[in-house]
């Protein structure tokens, strides 16, 4: 318990001091994770909406696969991306291994199924509501997907946050494809893993508290935005 309280104190100290190294690590964490979440939304939102709103052969199988892929272990994703980007892998020539870009790719693969699967659920529920009106108006499939995504936008913010949570907290994928190289690919989670294995448990836990604070700030910002947007447009 003593060391836990010590960690909290140390975390407060870290946040107060915010030295350049820590800022760089926090900044890279945010950059990698936010970019990955944005990319995952770009792919996952339309994908989930299509599976949620349209009828086509293999639709329920697609939903099942999306749900199953939510459980992809980060380490497995890391390995897959490593094998793709390795010098002997098919994309080795790009020279992306051990760069932030590799980490973004891995996290995008990790987060896209979450965004798509949750979007599918949100859109399907909303579509149940809209289906007869859409059928009566004969809304074309493309317009249906766009309309459902737009009308579900505030719920989908929460979906994006779920993706953010998964990405910002994972270490298994980024440590394999990023290599946890100091000043290049070291992010919050890999630093925590490193400090833990150095036996600096209090410091590692303090970093964990800092990470939690970052997640709180991001979530708080999004939820505040969501609440004010909801008052404006929604009921």
């Amino acid at each position: 318990m003593g060391s836990f309280m010590g960690s909290l104190g140390e975390a407060a100290g870290l946040i107060m001091a915010l030295d350049a190294d820590l800022l760089e690590i926090i900044g890279l964490s945010l950059r990698v994770t936010l970019t990955a979440v944005a990319a995952a939304c770009l792919i996952g939102l339309p994908l989930g909406a299509v599976v949620g709103a349209l009828r086509f052969p293999g639709r329920s199988l697609a939903g099942l696969v999306l749900n199953a892929l939510m459980g992809l272990p980060p380490v497995v994703v890391g390995l897959m991306v490593y094998m793709m980007l390795s010098a002997t892998g098919p994309l080795g020539v790009l020279g992306l291994l051990y760069t932030p870009t590799a980490m973004i790719i891995a996290q995008t693969i990790l987060v896209t199924p979450i965004v798509a699967a949750l979007t599918r659920q949100v859109v399907e529920d909303l579509h149940t509501d809209y289906a007869e009106q859409f059928a009566s108006l004969e809304v074309r499939p493309f317009d249906r997907v766009v309309a459902l995504l737009w009308d579900a936008r505030l719920s989908l913010l929460t979906v994006a946050l779920a993706g953010f949570g998964r990405a910002v907290a994972e270490v298994g994928a980024v440590i394999i494809v990023g290599g946890n190289i100091n000043h290049v690919t070291r992010v919050m989670t890999t630093t925590i893993a490193l400090e833990t294995s150095k036996g600096n448990l209090e410091f590692a836990l303090a970093l964990g508290v800092v990470l939690l604070v970052i997640a709180l700030v991001v979530n708080g910002a999004v939820m505040t935005f969501r609440a004010s947007a909801a008052r404006m447009t929604y009921a």
Partner: protein
């Protein structure tokens, strides 16, 4: 005054954060001239690279990016061409790496030694033993828990050799008193300390480890605990993306009088943890 200084500091911090988020900071656009060194957690976690690399960079302008994993993993990564230089500690695997054509040649860099650490209570009664094989037999006979890396690392392979020489089939006891963590040195130390288990570690990691609790070095000084590190330039003929010229510059510097002196002068808590012993001089 104080307020304005604090504000200025906050502004500067925000700028650094923004730069890092948007990828504008120096590290991520980085000098074109960098190499990737596949190395072991023991060398990285002990802080050795942080201590010696700035001098190298200042002299040559080459940035060294260290990927710190177990020796087995490091060798596999390098065999995939994902690294320019390999710095590890498993002589047999290193020689095989070169023989298979993945490496140009191997050179001794430095050594330290392994130690067997255990809880103050010393349930197997191995404290201060100088014969590691006898100590291993005692641990096995007492049934006291022993934590093994179990991850194909240099330390793991060295430990397995010692069990073999002691005539004990540790694998048979796996899950019993013999616990394979399948993790890095630091994680294994954390686990061992949680279990109250004996564990073999390289001295550098042990000395710099921050969570020792009541653990002490129990066995040390046996010549069998000698731990040699080697350095290998990855073969550019085999892996065309390898930066042979930059990699060779780094290898030569590590083996040079200056590089060796840098290693020798590195201290953890005032103690030397790596002993340079390069024989090949560039």
């Amino acid at each position: 005054m104080a307020t304005s200084r604090r504000t200025a500091g906050a502004v500067r911090r925000l700028a650094v954060l923004a730069a890092a988020v948007f990828g504008l900071s120096a590290p991520t656009v980085a000098a074109d001239e960098y190499i990737v060194v596949q190395s072991t957690t023991s060398a990285e976690h002990s802080g050795l690279f942080d201590a010696i690399l700035p001098a190298f960079r200042e002299q040559t302008g080459i940035e060294v990016r260290v990927v710190a994993v177990g020796t087995g993993q490091a060798i596999k990564n390098a065999a995939n061409g994902d690294g320019d230089v390999l710095l590890v500690h498993d002589r047999l695997a290193e020689d095989k790496f070169v023989a298979d054509g993945h490496g140009v040649s191997r050179a001794d860099v430095m050594y330290n030694d392994f130690v067997v650490v255990g809880p103050l209570g010393d349930p197997a009664g191995v404290a201060s033993m100088a014969d590691v094989l006898a100590a291993f037999r005692k641990i096995a006979d007492s049934g006291a828990p022993f934590a093994s890396r179990g991850d194909d690392s240099g330390t793991h392979k060295a430990e397995l050799r010692l069990w073999r020489e002691a005539g004990i089939d540790a694998a048979a006891a796996s899950g019993g008193w013999y616990r394979e963590t399948g993790a890095g040195m630091g994680s294994t130390l954390n686990t061992a300390i949680g279990l109250g288990a004996y564990v073999m570690a390289d001295r550098a990691t042990w000395v710099s480890f921050g969570n020792k609790r009541d653990y002490r070095v129990m066995v040390e000084g046996d010549p069998r605990l000698f731990n040699q590190y080697g350095i290998i330039l990855v073969n550019a003929d085999r892996h065309p993306n390898v930066k042979a010229r930059l990699g060779e510059t780094f290898v030569n510097w590590v083996l040079s009088t200056e590089g060796q002196a840098a290693i020798a002068s590195y201290r953890v808590d005032g103690r030397q943890v790596f002993f340079p012993n390069a024989t090949k001089r560039p």
